[in-house]
Assembly symmetry: C2
Homo-oligomer: 235 residues x 2
Amino acid sequence: MTAAEIKFIKKLHQKKYRKEEQKYFVEGRKLYEEALKNCPDLIESVYYTKSEDQPENQKNSELISEKEMSRISALKNPSPFLVLLKMSPLNLTNSNRSLFLEDIKDPGNMGTIIRSADWFGIEKIYVSSECVDLYNPKVIQATMGSFFRVNFEETTATELASQSIPLYGATLDGESIHTIEFPDEVCLVIGNESKGIQENTAELLTRKIFIPGKGKAESLNASVAAGIVLFAMNR
Amino acid sequence: MTAAEIKFIKKLHQKKYRKEEQKYFVEGRKLYEEALKNCPDLIESVYYTKSEDQPENQKNSELISEKEMSRISALKNPSPFLVLLKMSPLNLTNSNRSLFLEDIKDPGNMGTIIRSADWFGIEKIYVSSECVDLYNPKVIQATMGSFFRVNFEETTATELASQSIPLYGATLDGESIHTIEFPDEVCLVIGNESKGIQENTAELLTRKIFIPGKGKAESLNASVAAGIVLFAMNR
């Protein structure tokens, strides 16, 4: 591994350079296997630390030392695999159902929502510009591979509303989700962890939905709320 | 703040000493307010860094320096409040519905599940001995105050089954949750993040339930699955 390669991957720890280079990396055998299964053409190179792990028929794979791996890894305990990929939309059928995530800041929440979306067959996720970067290694890790089965697009609620896509938003003052029927074409809006959906966005919603509770908690975690709405949409 | 007090709270960063002393701490104004609302008698002392924050009518409250706070805090960015509490069961009405968490390891998942339980009115959570410590500061932070509205008890699935409590478990091979009716008395079993419910425990389940998906994800995040089952139980 050359000093220039090490420097290049270390730069990709920062969002700015990921965007500039249109490249990112993922770590761990599981994510490598998922990338291989879902988007092999986007893999640029694979670094691994154990000779017995050498990937078969993989162009640009390179055995590196554990010391080198710890220099390029974003993990406290580096895994034996690091995969460099190029950013590019995936080849997916367009379903009529999508998510719009507004200002989701926590990488764990973001990754978990992507994983739930994949579980419930949503292939398109719109994100606001204030969301945590999708290519943040913590986001990708939390998706457990679902990252490679969903397409992303940065947009605004105004733009979505102008396309006449019905927007259903999870709020604290909507109709009970138990009685709502979801149309075939719908975009679910999930708001920020602490502030919920922005006022401007709330005015654009076709319907506000609410998850009724019984206890005294003020709200649900954003990724739990998203999971419940996705579940209800699939009843 | 005396050196002995600083040393005492620093010791409480470790599970071992929390257990030995039967004391723990929480940080942040929000958690202090929740403790005040839900279990004022369990508050032993309150440390705060800004004189304008002095709590009214609070015994044992002490203004300390930011330097002292950073020594006793478990947070990267210490908050202006740290509250010392004693461990003790809360005075709650016993509902017939409960959760059994088996080997939940991630503090964020544990805290999020407690928050969802509170949202859906569950006041009793059983935990296996292999779960992350409930008094771990990251767990408490993730509950967003719900920690003070739920009682906990360490137990085993065998013990619960011997009390004839119907155990419903979220598995990958159960009946679809869409058609399941939940009895008035039921304990929901949520398994470990990566291994799911243990085989021995699965044999004790009254009913296995499954959350049907559409996509290619292998599973849902444990706290999302718990949230969905709690939601379905409240339809």
